[in-house]
């Protein structure tokens, strides 16, 4: 992006509340991600990390508060939600590839339906992104014939095929066998080095320290602590953060 954007933060979450029935899962979150920044979110299970991430692209509808993506209010009824979503890539813990479609068809479906690209153009883009994740040779395979690590890299390529401005990752390596985690992290690292704006919920502290620009620690629906990853990891201020890190490190 050459011109200065007309917004303050790529993702801007203000006073976000989310309840499921009586269960208040997010209790007033203020949070932002800037263009080109990699923000990692950590915290114990059930602390609301996924819910926060899913509120960003409105897979969950917030109960209260605002989410701005590139300055666009996601709860505004005037907002073309699908248009904004097509600029936000999302990678799920369980991959969620379309099992009835080949790898190429997985990558071209939304390009053709949403971006209205022609077949040839969409396939060219798909192939380019498969090469980016090192899987050009799997273009005609079905997801079921790929390893978990390969499926997750295809899922990343699928998101990239929409030419997103920013990417959301929800524990992208948690469902993988340990020996397959590295390949996926490598792809994410190269994305970060290319300047992709990324919000990453993860348990990979090494990745957070090495690649993250900012680390956010969540507990029971609030942000307890945030800052430089190395700083937070080596010198946590809150007792809750210390307790959590002593368990996972």
């Amino acid at each position: 992006m050459t011109s200065t954007p007309a917004y303050e933060h790529a993702i801007d979450v203000q006073q976000l509340h989310k309840s499921f029935g009586d269960n208040e899962v997010l209790k007033g979150i203020d949070f932002h991600v800037d263009d080109g920044e990699v923000v990692c979110v950590i915290g114990p299970s059930g602390s609301g990390k996924s819910t926060l991430l899913r509120c960003v692209n409105q897979l969950e509808v917030p109960t209260k508060g605002r989410v701005l993506v590139e300055g666009v209010d996601m709860s505004d009824p005037e907002t073309d939600l699908n248009d904004v979503r097509s600029r936000i890539g999302m990678v799920f813990q369980s991959f969620n590839l379309f099992p009835h479609l080949t790898v190429t068809a997985n990558l071209t479906l939304a390009q053709r339906r949403v971006k209205k690209r022609g077949k040839a153009e969409a396939e060219k883009c798909a192939l380019k992104n498969l090469a980016r994740v090192g899987l050009e040779d799997k273009a005609d395979a079905y997801p079921a014939h790929l390893s978990g690590g390969q499926q997750q890299r295809v899922a990343i390529a699928r998101a990239l095929s929409m030419d997103p401005d920013l990417m959301l990752f929800d524990e992208p390596t948690s469902a993988l066998d340990p020996e397959l985690v590295g390949d996926v992290l490598a792809v994410m690292k190269s994305l970060a080095s290319e300047g992709m704006t990324m919000m990453v919920v993860t348990h990979e502290m090494g990745f957070a320290r090495e690649v993250g620009d900012k680390l956010v620690f969540m507990d029971e629906g609030v942000i307890m602590e945030e800052g430089d990853p190395a700083e937070v990891l080596s010198n946590p201020q809150h007792a809750r953060t210390q307790e959590f890190l002593s368990k996972v490190l």
């Binding site: 692209n57 897979l59 699908n82 248009d83 904004v84 979503r85 097509s86 600029r87 936000i88 890539g89 999302m90 799920f92 369980s94 969620n96 590839l97 379309f98 099992p99 009835h100 479906l109 939304a110 339906r113 949403v114 079921a144 899922a155 699928r158 998101a159 929409m162 959301l168």
Partner: protein
């Protein structure tokens, strides 16, 4: 030790009862009478080729029309039942519960006779056409429930992935959910098809000219004109020739499905 002896003894008694029952049946049955009434080769020969080129053919045509119509209407009802708009859900639920709660024969009878008289309506294809319309309407109620279950069996993550890519609800349904849902419901839908093949026999109530007759009507008319039940046997064999392979196919698909795709 004691337990195995006991098991073996019970087994032995069960076999003995079975053999005795079969023997009793074979000895008691009046074989010549059965053969004369149900397996008269002369009469059987007379039924061909009409039983194939008219009756079996019509059974298949009626089944195909009822299934195709039921699929279209059933899909619409399933989508209505899952609609976020409450009145659509109410209408679909009311329709499904209403027609699943009635005997198909009653609905066919109503459409073939009561409706045309009440509304001065001449159904296309005569009363057989009206009966067929009733069959579509009834089968749609069952097919709708099957398709709805299939749609709901598609994991939520599939819809979320499509939405995260910016796909609108309609395209998500058509390109992501329905192809997977249909794969899931192929076995139960094949069962519906078998039921429908047999249910075309209910059209006999509509009263049909010879050229319109399906297997059961044809066989029944045959029985009254020759005074022998062999046409029923031939019709039964015709039904089984179609339904048995289909039910075997469903069993095969379910076994394969259970092993995981």
């Amino acid at each position: 030790m004691k337990r195995t002896t006991k098991t073996r003894l019970t087994r032995g008694v069960m076999y003995a009862i079975f053999v005795a029952a079969v023997a009793a049946l074979v000895l008691a049955a009046d074989w010549p009478a059965i053969q004369k009434a149900f397996f008269n080769v002369e009469i059987a020969r007379e039924l061909f080729p009409d039983v194939v080129v008219i009756a079996a053919k019509n059974t298949i045509i009626y089944t195909a029309i009822a299934f195709a119509g039921g699929m279209v209407l059933g899909l619409v009802l399933a989508l209505m039942k899952l609609s976020p708009v409450a009145p659509y859900r109410w209408v679909a639920t009311a329709y499904i519960e209403f027609f699943r709660g009635l005997p198909a024969l009653l609905v066919i009878f109503t459409f073939a006779f009561a409706v045309p008289i009440a509304f001065q309506w001449r159904p296309p294809g005569g009363s057989a056409g009206a009966g067929l319309l009733a069959l579509i309407i009834v089968s749609a109620a069952y097919i709708a429930e099957t398709i709805r279950a299939g749609i709901q069996a598609v994991p939520k993550g599939q819809v979320e992935a499509a939405h995260s890519l910016g796909m609108p609800a309609g395209w998500t349904m058509v390109s992501v959910v329905l192809p997977q849902a249909f794969r899931i419901v192929i076995p139960p839908l094949t069962n519906e098809l078998v039921v429908l093949i047999k249910d075309t026999s209910l059209l006999f109530i509509a009263g049909m000219a010879l050229s319109q007759q399906e297997l059961t009507t044809f066989a029944r008319d045959g029985v009254s004109s020759v005074g022998n039940s062999t046409p029923l046997t031939i019709a039964a064999l015709m039904y089984l020739a179609v339904t048995l392979p289909l039910t075997r196919l469903v069993a095969y698909m379910e076994r394969r499905g259970a092993r995981g795709r």
